[in-house]
């Protein structure tokens, strides 16, 4: 179902009005993580435009976005996609869930990963 209310909720979190996106795909074209994504970044934005947020929330893409900003740096319409991805993650996380359970992280990761990775990851995933 197309819903403008869903779109506005995300706008409050992200500060990004995705209506200006004209689906040129430049974000997806330059996304380093695109190969692993089930939906390309521009498709996630399209779903948000349509307010079909459920589908976006169910996508792996939002957890694969590494906030590298390559997309927003080149976006001709000035859309900060990473903010939108974060708003989708946060929508789920604020419901009380978490995407990643710290205690179930593999031992070698816990042992070897830099603190920066753990802090950043837990910030984004829990």
């Amino acid at each position: 179902m197309v819903s403008s209310e869903n779109r506005r909720k995300l706008l409050d979190i992200s500060g990004e009005d995705v209506t200006s996106c004209y689906q040129c795909g430049k974000c997806s074209a330059g996304c380093a993580m695109a190969a692993m994504m089930d939906l390309l970044p521009h498709q996630v934005i399209r779903l948000v435009q349509l307010g079909q947020v459920e589908e976006a929330l169910a996508s792996r893409t939002i957890w694969l976005c590494a906030s590298c900003l390559a997309c927003s740096a080149r976006c001709p319409r000035g859309v900060s996609l990473p903010n939108v991805m974060e708003s989708l993650r946060v929508t789920l996380l604020r419901l009380g869930g978490r995407h990643l359970d710290p205690v179930r992280l593999p031992a070698d990761v816990l042992e070897n990963a830099p603190e920066q990775a753990l802090v950043a990851g837990l910030r984004k995933y829990t």
Partner: protein, 293 residues
């Protein structure tokens, strides 16, 4: 040249060599880095939600206390640089969020601090020419690939660090040390960042692309300023190239700097690498044979 200095968590733990090599080099170069008292973690990632300013509190507190010490704050870690500089931008330009955060930390900080990366200090205050003159052990012949990743470059309008599509500060730095710079297209592509925590080595794909792009162009070492990039690029080489095999070591720019300045090897801190830099550096005579690797 005096600055206040923010180390960040990782440099006090997994990336000790990054800091020890930097501090030792700074001393030799006459750059005085005064560590902030009572600093706290910057949060490692800049919050992208505008309806929640809480994650800005910690970096803002750091900035406010740094402002009391002087006008410029130096970071080494790309992530700290990114988070502190972006937070500073918010405090400078977004009155609403500034007031909110200030109310919480009981400060009246207005973003009038300059957050600089150690590379910028070397370039702008010391000068790469002067740096080149300080080199004791020229690294001539070492084919080094710079790797910027994301956090130093984007968003370009806030960080204003270098040309976001064609940066060259690391290249200039490496040239000053006498390296042969290996240009490669993936130097500005993302390594996968915190997606490293996701099960299934999802981040290793992008990292492998980066390493491959450098290796294929003849790089024998990849140079970074981000502990997470270092980790991702290094770990992605597990298996395929094998420990001490044909892999490309990934090291911090300050480690190369310390070597070039002829500093003792105990400041390098090359522990815990998947691809050890030791054999390579020994092979070019940049490190003595007894050094720990």
């Amino acid at each position: 040249m005096g600055y206040s200095y923010f180390p960040g968590c990782t440099l006090r733990a997994k990336a000790r060599g990054f800091e020890s090599s930097a501090l030792a080099s700074a001393r030799v170069l006459g750059i005085h880095l005064e560590e902030l008292a009572n600093w706290q973690c910057c949060g490692a990632t800049f919050p992208l939600q505008v309806d929640n300013s809480f994650p800005l509190v910690s970096p803002a507190r750091t900035l406010a206390s740094a402002r009391r010490m002087g006008e410029r704050l130096v970071t080494l870690c790309s992530a700290c640089y990114n988070v502190l500089k972006r937070t500073n931008h918010v405090m400078r330009t977004d009155a609403d969020r500034r007031d909110k955060v200030n109310a919480f930390i009981e400060e009246d900080y207005r973003g009038d601090l300059e957050v600089v990366h150690f590379l910028e200090v070397l370039r702008d205050d010391l000068g790469f020419d002067a740096l080149a003159r300080s080199v004791k052990v020229p690294l001539s012949g070492l084919a080094a690939a710079p790797y910027y990743g994301c956090l130093l470059l984007r968003p370009a309008d806030e960080l204003a660090f270098d040309d976001p599509e064609a940066p060259h500060i690391l290249e200039d730095f490496l040239s000053a040390l006498g390296c042969r710079v290996v240009d490669h297209p993936y130097k500005i592509e993302c390594c996968g960042s915190y997606v490293a925590l996701e099960p299934g080595e999802l981040a290793s794909g992008p990292s492998r692309m980066v390493v491959e792009s450098a290796r294929a162009r003849g790089a024998r070492v990849i140079v970074t300023s981000c502990p997470l990039c270092q980790y991702n690029l290094d770990v992605s080489q597990q298996g395929a190239h094998g420990r001490n095999g044909a892999g490309v070591p990934v090291i911090y720019f300050t480690q190369l700097l310390a070597i070039a300045l002829g500093l003792p090897e105990d400041v390098l801190g090359f522990e815990g690498h998947v691809i050890s830099p030791g054999p390579l550096l020994r092979s070019i005579g940049a490190m003595g044979s007894e050094a720990t690797a």
